[in-house]
Amino acid sequence: MPFAGVDFLQLDELLTEEERLVRDTFRRFVDDEILPVIGRHFREGTFDASWPRKLGSLGALGASLTGYGCAGLGPVAYGLIMQELERGDSGVRSFASVQGALVMYPIHSFGSEEQKQRWLPKMAAGEAIGCFGLTEPDFGSNPGGMRTTARRVGDTYVLNGEKRWITNGGLSDVAVVWAKTDEDGAGQGGAKSVRGFLVERGTPGFSTRDIHGKFSLRASVTSELIFEDCVVPASAMLPGVQGLRGPLSCLNQARFGISFGAIGAAMACYDEALRYTKDRKQFSRPLAGHQLVQAKLVDMLEEISKAQLLSLHLGRLKVAGTLRPAQISMAKRNNVRMALHIARNARDLLGANGITDEYQAGRHMCNLESVFTYEGTDHIHTLVIGEDITGIPAFD
């Protein structure tokens, strides 16, 4: 029997007809196209080359952007796509998040008309793949300290530096790379001098190296980007933004989607645990008939229901234009925590079966360890909210 959703509070009534249709389309897509192959990809550590075009043909890539072949969806419908994709696998959702929120979004918001025309239609169709280079080996939570530089030489910039933990890196046709410039009067090397550059695959001095040996997000490509005197034309710079506001605004888009995505992973784990414990008998009755098991199942359902309300509400705030970054931090922090907790408990309820890849819980559990850390670690989101309520930044 296919997955039928988790909707204890009848929250479907709060969705528009369009939002439900979008959700149902991707629910079926995940059943048909992701779940039958995800176990193999996770085991073998491979990304399915057919996914980008399949997602693109449905309109899932950059779905909340308008024009340039993008679907122009509202934030809740976009979030529900992320939810369903992550119900399949966090790696698949990560691919879509990076493509849409971290690459297409900055090109759409800060790019020149020429950059938009060149990249957005192809990226929306899944014919071109993008990655987002912000994090460096020594600068993750503190991107302002980045060492990658872009030195202006005539009509060009010369990039030097290294980016790490870059989803889609090795697959990418174009990388959005954030680097410090030596101009604009903002003080050389300061965080305010950060600019974005579109660096195309094949540019001399630009290479990528995939990171192997991952316990997590195995069906997604994670890479290093290396820039050694990499020369790009001045027109490769994103003209519309300067300073860390550029990358941080992208991350806000992505984190909003991740808060929905985590719900998908949690729903998959809860659904699997519920089916399993109703089916498997120990001590003369189904596991689900034991009090300790019921308590775990109820905890899962309760957390999922609250997370659903949280993300849905933030989606409505986003439409109204009143959504604040600290609120997104709360949704990312809460929802990923709850999903990771649920995945661990689901693995527990599945007993020994839970440690094999015949079941989903272990895979989601491993994936969510990455989601817990990326896009703002759990700690950083705690401090963002902490600063918001106290007025005192506690980062340094």
Partner: protein, 273 residues
């Protein structure tokens, strides 16, 4: 080609059935489009497009359903797949039987004059399998049921319809207008040949996904609302349900200690020896 497709909503067949008194309790049903009707929508779209360039349509697909306002959701999903417009005839599920449905469709056909009515071979809820046949009789049109393939021939004036029968595939030629009901193999990659799509073109298996563009476009497509009385259809039920009961629960099996006992039970209890 102008095609009318039926779209019945049914409770999710995977859901557990509940009874209230001796009638089905559908208050908690998850409604979905009858899968065979979804196949009919897919077949209709394939008949009206060039598979290699789906945006260039020739003809139009109208989807019709009888039911309460909620049916709009299923109609919208057919519009999102690519159908052009929809008709909803207001009715409660318990006020409908195959006769009323067939007569309602007859009125719609006489009003809109489609070249072809495409329907699922049956609805997967009650598996009635008689509306298509009734409709063809009411209209005096040729019919081909359980279609596994459709090929447009004679310059669009007739169809060759393949039907899977016990010892092979029977090919029927029906002239248009006609009523055709489809079986599950109609969604095979090359089951529908409209004469315009390249002969070797292969669709992906199964009904298409509603793309986000399709879903966006569906918002602006018209859903015409009609009533049974407005169409002049008598609402007196001719098929009456006298009761419903759940299949008996399975009894626990018996453990048998020896072959001797097994043979004995097969003789005395199962009475197969």
């Amino acid at each position: 080609m102008k095609i009318l497709v039926t779209a019945k909503r049914i409770p999710d067949p995977g859901q557990k059935i509940k009874l209230k008194g001796n009638a089905l309790d559908l208050s908690a049903a998850n409604w979905q489009l009858n899968q065979f009707d979804e196949y009919a929508v897919e077949a209709a779209l394939r008949l009206t497009e060039d598979g290699a360039a789906p945006a260039t349509r020739q003809g139009a697909v109208t989807v019709a359903s009888l039911g309460p306002a909620d049916v709009q959701q299923q109609l919208r999903s057919a519009l999102a797949m690519g159908a052009d417009k929809a008709i909803r005839v207001e009715a409660k599920d318990e006020e409908l039987d195959a006769v009323i449905v067939a007569k309602t469709l007859e009125k719609l056909v006489r009003r809109d004059q489609p070249d072809l009515v495409l329907m699922g071979k049956l609805a997967a809820d009650n598996e009635g399998n008689d509306v298509g046949q009734r409709l063809a009789a009411l209209l005096g049109w040729p019919q081909a049921t359980f279609a596994c393939s459709i090929q447009v021939v004679d310059g669009g004036k007739a169809l060759l319809v393949g039907r899977e029968v016990d010892n092979g595939v029977e090919i029927k030629k029906v002239r248009l207008p006609a009523v055709v009901t489809v079986d599950l193999r109609i969604i095979a990659p090359q089951a529908v040949k409209n004469g315009r799509t390249a002969a070797n073109f292969a669709y992906p298996e199964g009904p298409r996904y509603a793309s986000l563009k399709g879903i966006r476009a569906a918002k602006d497509k018209p859903i015409e609302a009609l009533t049974l009385s407005g169409l002049g259809v008598s609402t007196a039920l001719q098929v009456k349900t006298h009761g419903s009961e759940l299949p008996p629960a399975r009894q626990a099996g018996k453990k048998i200690a020896s072959v001797h006992e097994l043979v004995e039970k097969l003789r005395s209890e199962a009475k197969v020896l």
